[in-house]
Subunit: 332 residues, 2 copies
């Protein structure tokens, strides 16, 4: 039975519960001798403070809320890994909240705040700009520290951790342009995500700069659906370069191309984003932008711990480096 309370410990150690509490929270304020006695009893009884009671009394729950839209996306899961590792280091617990399409973001956020989390990590990247302002207002009104992870919002006051997706989009497009590709498509999602908007912006900038016509083809994240889209695509479009906003989309496109006997990378170069296992397991292997997803999770969690313990943190907007992993699906 590990349901001993602080009273049991105090009684067994012959001290008041205030002293037990101090041993746990401010050990330096307790005389060495009594401290040892209390610690001994704590160990003997297997006492672990009830975190709920502690949360109520101290108004700190050492719990952070993680807001996501879809756990099953590989990048989200990996970010969670980074978050979880750092949270563990800092002794924070994680409460997971999933925002579904039919739910009101603001409402959920208020619920999360009612759960008394000490801070919020927002991984959802599907907010439109005015929505972001509303969200930001909620956080600020409730004075709750927050960080946007893997989300790019231009507002300088919003704490965020991401890579420069615009630049990455630009660079990967430039790579193909430098290899004399003219009909380069960006394969994006029908649903708008802030990060994909950035990739599109970078792609567009590179194309216009080279005097080429930017062409964005929107499809679904569902493999069965985009298979159809891509087959239709090939029947009426000329293409010698394609960039998928996700590896899985790029691989799916590459498979259709090869089913149709298109030479990759000879006649068609393909690249993806995220450098997931899909890029390694495809044939040919896929050139991809490596996004340090785990690090984004870890760094944003660390930033959040700073914000939770201090009012002025110097650098609240962190851009992590990315790089292009060149593989068989491109020539250069």
């Amino acid at each position: 039975m590990s349901n001993a309370t602080i009273y049991d410990v105090a009684g067994a150690a012959g001290v008041s519960l205030a002293t037990v509490s101090r041993v746990l929270n401010n050990p330096e304020k307790v005389k060495e001798e009594t401290r040892q006695r209390v610690l001994k009893v704590i160990k003997e009884l297997g006492y672990r403070p009830n975190v709920i009671a502690r949360g109520l009394a101290s108004r700190k729950t050492t719990t952070v809320g993680i807001v996501i839209s879809d756990v099953t996306r590989a990048s989200v899961a990996e970010m969670l890994g980074g978050i979880s590792d750092i949270a563990h280091n800092y002794k924070y617990s994680i409460k997971l909240f999933t925002i579904r399409e039919d739910m009101d973001v603001i409402d959920i956020l208020k619920d999360i705040i009612a759960e008394q989390v000490d801070g919020i990590l927002y991984l959802n990247d599907e907010l439109s700009t005015n929505r972001v302002e509303e969200v930001e207002k909620i956080f600020i009104d409730n004075q709750i520290p927050f960080v946007f992870a893997n989300v790019v919002y231009d507002d300088e006051k919003v704490p965020m951790v991401s890579i420069d997706y615009e630049k990455a989009g630009y660079e990967i497009t430039k790579l193909m342009i430098d290899d004399d590709r003219k009909d380069i498509y960006l394969l994006s999602t029908a649903r708008r995500y802030s990060v994909n908007d950035k990739k599109e912006a970078g792609y567009t900038r590179a194309m216009l700069e080279a005097g080429l016509q930017p062409r964005i083809f929107r499809t679904s994240g569902d493999t069965n659906i985009n298979r159809q889209h891509f087959n239709a695509f090939f029947s009426d479009k000329k293409v010698d370069g394609a960039i998928g906003v996700r590896d899985s989309i790029a691989v799916s496109f590459m498979n259709i191309a090869r089913d149709r006997k298109v030479d990759v990378p000879g006649k068609l170069e393909i690249a993806g984003f995220q450098n997931t296992k899909y890029a390694l397991l495809s044939r040919p292997t896929l050139t991809s932008i490596d996004v340090p997803v785990y690090d984004i999770g870890a760094v944003s969690m660390r930033l959040l711990t700073k914000l939770m313990s201090s009012n002025d943190v110097d650098n609240i907007r962190i851009i992590l480096p990315h790089y292009i992993v060149k593989r068989e699906s491109t020539k250069i």
Copy 2:
């Protein structure tokens, strides 16, 4: 500001806080008229009960602990999706705990219990049998409801939700045997997981039944590492059938085989487990056992809610159906 407390509501509505509490928890005990008045004030003030205070007073936190070992595995992430959806339906919050290799399971479990969760969902499938007994004892001693999800333990008293992995392993092996394959390998993980043990058992049973020699080849989950293992494999082994305990392992094996000009499925049939996106995105597409991972998560969460609200639940061991999805990597 949504930091109104129950006192504020009581004051504004001209009732005692006990009444406000009843409106929230036992509305039928409050006269229609006062109830409406209170609800109106609640809405006006944007009052949301502090769940921590409620948790302390009621000794129920409406929070469940989810124990996992690795979020980044696709099956874990998808299970989390199912868990999250059902938890949301039943108004439970989710606290996520990751058990890392260097950590003591029992110790973590005690921590989780100190967090006052109402129940625990255990997705970690790496426990050896005697470890399971210890874990079970902790749960029982602390009288905390628990469910093992996607884990197969034979103890009839342990609540669990899974598929019959032994049978699945048997069936997929039988499929290849029926197609006259003789040298069928099971590609398993070096690390032992309870579910993989079951797959191995089913595979072995089918092989022995057919008078064939079972051969288990153990490799890593890391694509770069198993690439080397598989190249070594082909240099000295005869093989005409291979079953990967995960799709990604099967696809990796298939890629190496094809790099070495082995005809798949002509000379070599390959199948995987889990029917993930990997199976769809590979070329040839991969035959795989469809494991209803989302459902396992959802059903185990539902079972947990039952266990949390009642002492005797009739069916605490649930086996979900699976089926084989035949694709290009096998002939039959």
